[in-house]
Symmetry: D2
Subunit: 422 residues, 4 copies
């Protein structure tokens, strides 16, 4: 019965029991770098629209590890050769694939450190590899796609990787957007390996089709939801403004851990040269942002106070989507209107009119395509099988966000009551 | 089609669509006092054991409102007279029943302001009633059980209230403790009113039985989980220590919003006399606690730093449950052992040995009992029906929590690596 | 409390509680014509592939009634005018929409009576209308699309009717083909009526898209599953053979209720002229077919015995799908092979080689299209909205079914053991 | 990739994918003896109350096999020694544990052959063992509890066997009685073996508690539902009557396969002596009963016609439960009333007044108790652990069933219309 104590069981609302063997995987989870992910939400500000979407990057990473464990078992049962150290490596790789994430969202981490989170994940993995005396070597090779068994990398990062499989499923579960639910169990059961490539058995083709549609629907209903877009753009402008004020030497308050980074211009080479930078970065999480927003709500700078307070009080910008970008005339008339409403910040009004576009396709045939293993033995890209009903139609939407028609700019002297009475 | 725009739809992972009519209910949700609940987790530190349990008091309040809407509809369809203003009142009462909650947990709000959260909810309701010019009058009477139709209060606070119905269901959902799932839908369908009391139709008796068992299991598996108990006790000691240091004039850093309250000794009358106190209190949420813990991790006081850092890094106290309280000999030998491990804090070591007890019964017959409406017309307390298989057995467990055997006290000068190498 | 006894509650695995008010709806359910549907499976022989798919037309009709009740409530809440008698009428129409179904499948009822089941449903509704003294008048007008409020008919029979909504959901549930699950709840919430037409609010467009995909996937995975096709074709040939033998005066045994119809050539006018025919037809259900197959397994006619025994013992024909019809050469060589295997039935071998084709499109723009009510007030066909990612690609598959390579024809003299030893 | 074709996948609404390896398990499933189970409903007449409960013994057996596969894997991963042939044996034993079931229900098979279905299962296993040339030897020893590793038998038949685990789960799923849902996944994960006994790890104790309660609730809500009891008693009286008429030489029609057995008085030794008896028995399934009932509805014997017609038309007896048996006075006055209503069958009226009792306890401490493996290493019966909240309270209910107040006895000459007009 010795085996009894050899596994840690996590309860997961999505999968039920998730078992993690004691050993390096469990030790990595216990590490403060990984525990930090408990304080970073997987979907940033999305809970502003979907109140349930408050799940963390921690639970996503554990979930992706769970699916990887299943995938390894399925492939091994089909006769695919995966050595124990390879299984450990690919599990470590998926567990740590997002460890470099900064607070809130991709967009924000770019604003704070200007380094892609995948590079940061890599830096964290290197740092952990030193602590764990080289035991992450194989995981890092798989993560970087430098390992000969290419399908292992594809399980970590590819059209059907366990990252995507978990996040679509989990994000759908917590947002309550049931259109995004995927049959991950069936897809994983249908995976196999041919010629070193991850492929899907023919009878899984309908599950794949539904997976692609579910992904498309999650993009438009959650990831690119217009109100979430607005909130994220507001946060980006907030950080921009804070950086601008810090550069001018204004004391704005907020988390010192954030302010420290707003003082600097960094790229990935800085992290490579200065180990302490990563240690500092590892202290950041969502609470630093929210704490700062609550401080900045009362800041003397009208713009910063307006943006931060609007986020804290969920007084979000109006957001409009359309199939064409807004015309110059529209923008001009909007600007004139906003100047009348907010005369005190006339010069900065351009910063509060936010435009951009988002693009999504159900299924791209240009990138490495999902490969289907037919019963006949042939392997075909999905778009060439007779069953495919999914098109590669690309949809683009243009957004325009701007403050709603409220008559005041928040100031720190007023109570909420006084504000609302204005 | 005018009705089309008259309802706001929330997506909820537990119930799917939740509809809230535009009007006072929606305006209350939009109020900053209510939006604050987005930043307070329903289960405090429970996510330290159940990573999915990060749902907020915001979503619980919306969920309870949803169930109240269903209950009102069921009762009305059965011919129970509920006037439109009563329906609105009872919905407002359930929406705001927890609005007074402070950060993290019940225990903590007691430590910060020493006022029960129900009294605070009442204060918030009074404040909102002023803003909304008396439109919460009826809701407040129901909340305080001052309204003649007693069953309305029972729907807000009673053996089968919509608060409990939602939290058991929601907590079970997010912890992943499936033993706690209740058939809320069936229970609500079986509610009716006889002699001004909320009762359950006979054919709902099995659903009630399962509800009581589910509740019992949630207590032992989630609410009173030994590791969660340990974490909460650690947090309480942390606040105690911070208050002690603040009183001594030590600069410990952390959120000013928390520090402001640590300076004061308050009771409910203070809040009644000074309106600003509630405004200050309304600025508190979980992010203030977490921000402070992260600051305190680096504080010069060894005890505060140790406690805060242990929470941030999830280096939790060991927790032991048993059916007897620990003996004096056990406690003495434990103290000696801890002094050897932590010689630098010998004088404070008693603060780190935490004992207490927790008690739970599946079903109490002493309090107002659930009433069953038999098909014969008779109304009986549940314990007197022939079908009951549930006992009133009370179970008590004693806990003992203390630091695990780690050889170091955190200091702010070390990197995590250095700490772990000690 | 009088309302308490006014509704009958059905437990439904798909929807939980389904409530039916006592009154004409409940009386129709209690009628033997409707109770008969308990003994007719919704998906005919599909359980031969999906063992869970044994749900009945009875539970489908109750489920469709449940969804209709919800749809009526949603529309009424949006201000659509639906009078009580119209609500009753449209509920009766959906409850009885399939009451004319014969045993097993559409294909089979054609073989037995050569009348479409919708015409038979109409005949049953007329018969019931007499018994219920005209209380089905309005239901019949709605069913026949003769009622001015066209959207009522569309709820019974249209692109988004409650029949389809329930069967996709229910069939997906019981087959376990999770790709077919639809968000019926969301779709119904998004229904509204504009210009007397049933339309979908814009924000429901993603639910519709998923609905269309789910439908497509159910077709290929369940309704047109190649093995189910084979079994149905086998059953059709069995009935053909039985009819042939009956015409020759051979005593083949089996249910007299089936044999009675195999003796006749009927069309809908016969039913109109002879009331007893409908009474006879109302005695047929799946048990008559299965009883007959078990009798015919031991019949002296080699073909009938072979076909019936193969179905009873689940020794199904091999079934091949392809994107082209089989070539003449393929068919010829197959025939030669079968003659060698089954020399005793050389002359009938053509009857055992079955070819045909099946066609399905995700979404047809040629028929009445789903209409989307944009927030702008405009109503557009779904294919013209910017969001649509669904194509109208039509997929055709050709099937070829024939006996597997087994060396014997069943005879009634052998035990199963002896057969298998051949 | 050779593994790809080595498993058959069944879709199961309860568990999703169920995989069965090709080999003896799959061959047994394909055998006509096992395919017969497709035509026997797991819950007999229960669908008369719960329309969804039409799942078959076939799908139950496949489900139990699925859980057994999981249990074997869990135990093996914990270091319990289970040889490949033992795993195969215990899987065969669970797959075939119910293969001896006759049509409809336990009660009925007793009426038809007067042999317990477990003995019949054993007979079928012996017969199959001959066909499969001894490959079921080990399975039969496990089934009969003659194998030294006692825990293997306990997995097939015991307090926590895979039979019960599947049927509670499956019956709950299909009836829609959600109170009966059990956390089978958690229970199986918590199984282990100590001293050759199947035991449950301490942390699974709450899952066990919920399992016991769920079981109790399923008994009262489904298995012993008063209307189901009435229907089963009606069917038993129908068969009694049919047997009585057959003995008198009356030609009553119906399935010859049933009539053959009504002519005989058999016990298990008859089956042992005459192999053909089992072959005959293997031809029986639910369709023989339903076909016969539909024939007997039109029989000239008033009692048989009345009983059979009442079942076919779901005109069920009234059923009353109480905590005391009905008094002699009650029975006498009931009889007098029925004689007035049904004067033509005055002499047989006693046969239509049915009394009896049903007993159930949540948890019996008298039989072999569930054993809990404490973390301390100790093994305790569940009733002696500190956590137990479940009592052994035994509940007994007495039933009384009799015809409802309808004014006619069915005769074959009337149309349903004419009957209802009486």
């Amino acid at each position: 019965m010795e085996g009894k104590t050899k596994r840690k069981i996590f309860n997961d609302p999505v999968y039920g029991f998730v078992e993690v063997p004691y050993g390096i995987l469990y030790d990595l989870i216990e590490h403060p770098y990984f525990q930090r992910l408990r304080r970073i939400r997987q979907l940033g500000l999305t809970d502003i629209v979907y109140p349930g979407a408050i799940h963390t990057r921690f639970s996503h990473a554990i979930g992706a590890l769970h699916l990887m464990t299943q995938a390894i078992e399925v492939l091994t049962n089909k006769g695919v050769s995966i050595l124990p150290q390879e299984a450990e490596g690919v599990k470590i790789a998926i567990l740590l694939h997002d460890i470099g994430h900064g607070p809130i969202s991709h967009a924000l981490e770019h604003k704070i450190v200007n380094v892609h989170h995948e590079s940061l994940s890599h830096l964290f993995m290197e740092a952990l590899n030193k602590e764990f005396e080289g035991r992450l070597n194989l995981a890092i090779r798989i993560f970087n796609n430098e390992y000969p068994k290419k399908f292992l990398h594809q399980l970590v990062s590819g059209q059907l990787d366990m990252d995507r499989m978990d996040y679509l499923n989990r994000d759908s579960f917590f947002t309550g957007v049931s259109e995004g639910v995927i049959g991950y169990h069936r897809i994983i059961k249908m995976l196999t390996v041919i010629d070193n490539q991850l492929v899907v058995e023919e009878k899984g083709i309908y599950s794949i089709e539904k997976f692609l549609i579910a992904r498309r629907l999650m993009y438009w209903q959650a990831y690119l939801h217009k109100t979430v877009l607005a909130a994220e753009q507001m946060l980006i402008r907030t950080i921009d403004r804070a950086r601008f004020l810090v550069a001018k030497g204004v004391q704005i308050g907020g988390s010192e851990r954030i302010l420290g980074f707003l003082n600097k211009k960094l790229d990935v080479s800085d992290f490579r040269e200065d180990n302490l930078l990563l240690t500092e970065y590892a202290k950041l999480d969502d609470t630093d942002i929210w704490y700062s927003l609550k401080e900045w709500e009362n800041c003397s700078d009208a713009i910063l106070s307006f943006l931060a307070g609007s986020l804290v009080r969920r007084n979000l910008f109006k957001s409009v989507l359309s199939s064409e970008p807004p015309s110059a005339a529209t923008l001009k008339s909007l600007k004139n209107r906003l100047i009348l409403q907010y005369p005190s910040i006339e010069n900065e009004i351009d910063d509060l009119i936010i435009t951009g576009k988002e693009t999504n396709s159900a299924y791209s045939t240009s990138k490495a395509e999902i490969q289907i293993a037919l019963k006949s033995g042939e392997v075909l890209p999905m778009s060439e099988t007779i069953d495919t009903g999914v098109t590669a139609k690309i949809i683009t939407k243009y957004y325009l966000c701007y403050p709603k028609n409220k008559k005041y700019i928040y100031t720190s002297k007023e109570t909420p009551k006084e504000r609302d009475q204005k």
